[in-house]
């Protein structure tokens, strides 16, 4: 038993030495993760700030002015133009100058005072559906609060039932809160996959794999020795992203570190399994690199990071069951933001476990049986 552990230990040490000895490869493993976490934290956001809008106020009333000032004071919108006729609406939207145009009809104020139902026309540039959707939601919220105030101050009976939406876990609907915890898994995922995909392929290409196979080490030992170092490096990378999320972007963490790291370890094992299988299958580094690239893009897209899995067509939803990232993102978001325990997200652990249980032994079998 001791001899076995010792062999695995020296293999891991060799792998780490081979990866980390070169100063440039140390930088490649650390710096991009750092830069990417800041980049995604700042750049990848669906939040609306400074949305440009234009107004066509045909009623020129105190009420319309009041509503506009409510809009202005929200901090979300800023006015770029005051239109004078309906012909100018298309121009303002098409040029991209305004994301939306607010049109108050000529009888807006009169109808309102008369207690009639009044339409407020909002024209949105839906070419960017995300921004348009958020803008519409903001306008709705502002109008709703206006309605309420109006009814209170001008009678009209009890205020009508109004929808009061409150978002949980991300009360301000900040995408950063949603994005950054996902990054803890995804950023490490890319490099772990690449690192392991190259590991066996490099040794095969350089002939060192034969030298390894003639030693008394068994394929299982080699597999473990090859798997542990990338998992360690992946965990370090995840920790970096987590530190940036926690201490720079101040996204509060609700769950426990232990649950988070246990989940991450499960995730890394399944990633390394996929990576090693790719590596054992490839004849050389070029092939391994190609497979890893080919896989990483769809795995990212189908992870639910950019678009919800439940919106995908059924066959693709089924495909995502082979995607460790999908479950890791769900797991980490829930542990990080909701603070649930691993027991609650056991259904995320099962697919990760199954992926690892299939890919790792397959890779180990391929070590000796793949003929190059």
């Amino acid at each position: 038993m001791f001899a076995l552990l010792h062999r695995i230990f020296i293999l891991c040490r060799k792998e780490l030495l081979a990866i980390l000895k070169d100063p440039s490869s140390r930088i490649v493993l650390i710096m991009p993760v750092f830069i990417q976490s800041f980049l995604f934290g700042y750049a990848a956001t669906y939040d609306l700030t400074n949305a440009p809008y234009a107004v066509l106020d045909q009623s020129r009333s105190a009420v319309s002015t009041e509503l506009i000032s409510k809009l202005e004071s929200s901090g979300v919108f800023h006015r770029v133009a005051n239109l004078t006729s309906e012909h100018e609406i298309a121009e303002a939207i098409d040029s991209g100058e305004a994301l939306l145009v607010l049109q108050f009809g000529p009888s807006f104020a009169e109808d309102l005072y008369a207690g009639k139902e009044v339409d407020l026309q909002v024209i949105l540039d839906a070419r960017n559906s995300n921004s348009a959707g958020s803008a519409a939601a903001y306008i709705n919220a502002i109008v709703a609060s206006f309605n309420q105030q109006w009814r209170q101050s001008h009678g009209g009976g009890a205020p009508a039932l109004s929808i009061e939406a409150r978002s949980w876990y991300n009360p301000n609907l900040e995408t950063r809160w949603y994005f950054m915890p996902s990054m803890i898994a995804s950023l490490a995922f890319l490099q772990t996959l690449m690192l392991t995909a190259l590991s066996v392929a490099r040794e095969r290409e350089q002939g060192t794999f034969d030298q390894l196979l003639v030693t008394p080490m068994s394929p299982a030992e080699i597999m473990i020795g090859k798997a542990v170092p990338p998992i360690m490096i992946g965990l370090v990378q995840s920790t970096i992203v987590m530190m940036v999320t926690l201490h720079w972007f101040h996204v509060p963490m609700a769950g426990s570190f232990i649950s988070l790291y246990l989940g991450l370890i499960f995730f890394m094992i399944s990633c390394v399994g996929v990576g090693l299988a790719i590596s054992a299958l490839s004849a050389n580094m070029q092939q391994a690199m190609f497979y890893a690239f080919m896989l990483s893009m769809p795995l990212m897209l189908l992870s639910g990071l950019a678009t919800p899995v439940r919106n995908m067509p059924m066959p693709i939803q089924i495909l995502t069951y082979a995607n460790p990232l999908r479950f890791a993102i769900d797991l980490i978001q829930r542990v990080y933001l909701e603070g649930v325990s691993l027991m609650t997200v056991w259904h995320d652990l099962v697919p990760l476990f199954v992926i690892a249980a299939l890919t790792l032994p397959w890779a180990a079998w391929l070590f000796r049986h793949r003929l190059v």
Binding site: R7, F9, L11, R13, G207, Q211, L212, V214, P216
Partner: protein, 608 residues
Amino acid sequence: MNAAGSAVQVQGLHKQFLDKESGRTIVALRDINLAIPAGTISAFVGPDGAGKTTLLRLLAGLLRVETGSIEVLGVDAKRDPQQIQDRISYMPQRFGLYEDLSVQENLDLYADLHGVGAQARVERYARLMEMTGLAKFTERPAGKLSGGMKQKLGLACTLVRSPELLLLDEPTVGVDPLSRVELWEIVEQLRHDEHLTVIISTAYLDEAERCAQVYVMHEGEVLAHGTPQALSDHARGRCFMARSPSKQPSRLLQSRLLDADDMVIDAVPQGGDVRFILNEQTQSDALCLRKILDGARVEEVSPRLEDGFMVLMRAKLHHDKGETDASLAAVSLSKSVTGADACGGAARDEVMIEVRDLVRKFGDFIAVNSTSFAVRRGEIFGLLGPNGAGKTTTFRMLCGLLPATSGFLQVAGVNLRTARANARRRIGYVSQKFSLYGNLSVKENLEFFGGAYGLRGQRLRQRIATVTEQFELHGLERTPSGHLPGGFKQRLAMAVGLLHEPDILFLDEPTSGTDPLARREFWRRITALANAGVTVIITTHFLDEAEYCDRIVIQDAGELKALGTPREVWVQAGHSATSPLNMEKAFIDIVNQARQSAQRNDKEVASA
């Protein structure tokens, strides 16, 4: 100056490089003077790191001339390297063939690159195809050619235009003897037909012997130059053959002679006898020498280029080190002396490797066909054959790296492929290509592989110290192994292979591309190991090395063609048992006989 017929004139050439790792300057060439006559073949010979490649690259106008002058075809290389490149052809050690392109596509590509016109192409291709014998294979991807054919294609691509000077950097490394002969025929024909000047660098001294002029290089200097005859004369009167009366393998006498390094400069087995060179002070009838020879009959022979080369090298090393040539003789042979006794008698008869009807197919292709042999403890067993003969496939099956399609296979009593991992502890493996971790240091590699074989703690430190001493790797412990010079890489690979004291050592082409000095040193170690009871399986391209082996097999096209002691194989090749051995000839005869009879069979089948 050119009227005198010099194709190349070099005067006072120095070249140095800056080593980025250490920040030191390395002198690659110092005070080189050359005068190469037009229309001749000249050779640069010398150990690894002698500066042969650097010199060729300077002549090709690929490196900048800093100190000294180079004139190639009357053009100053400092002023107009482009013009030189337009008029010469240079084939580097690793020629850039595109492996996925066919033979024809490779030729076309190089013709396009050199701007050879359509008309000129037709004639040139026809001639190149005829010379290289590649006409049958024009559609085959270059990657699917054998090593020898690849080199021929490389040469053909180099020659798509008619150069005035041809520079070849070790063109025959890793090429089997048959292909070597063919390559040389092409070069000589070109010199004859086109009055081409050829400069070739080589590690094979028998090749250099065919050249008009030979430059012996060592650590950036030209030690001597002249005709092969003149260089051989450095050893005149000092070369002898010793015929051992007993049935002992000649390598035993050889290692005794080498041990007497105060008298003997060099000793190699040749034709079943031992060829040795005495130093200047020693007489052939000296008393202490007679004791070593132990009744062997001695006669003086005329020197070869290799003898002259060895004398020059020894004198140089002696001069540099101020003591006996450490690089050769320091091999601690305590093992060879005591080892011979330690492992005698019954143990020697133990069968270590047994192979019966071994077959390996790749799809329809039969790489190895019903091969059988057995190897006993302490034997040196050689697998010989041309490229693609099935040597490496056989070798990989023995090591357990490749499953056999059918047949029986046992190494140290087990099949390594299916045996428990521990059985592999009994074998050591040194592959053809350097296959240790290049960015790990010498010490880290030793520690890793030692650990992989279950050595640790005190025992590991002890073994590392022993092999470091044995293979003279002191002072290099912290050097990344990928940065070691070729000869040292090979020593490190051997050190790793022997770290765990295996019973059986597998060596795949260990001497390919190494210079004569390094090869001597290598074989000293191997014979010492065999004497100590280690079984050695070795594949080699160097036919003269077959004589170090106790027994050999010759394979061709997957078939076992001959098996036995070198002498027995010589007889199987159709020669008389008493005539002097020439393994290269035996090999070529056996392979040719086999191929001819195969062709006859094909014809009979076709006509039937």
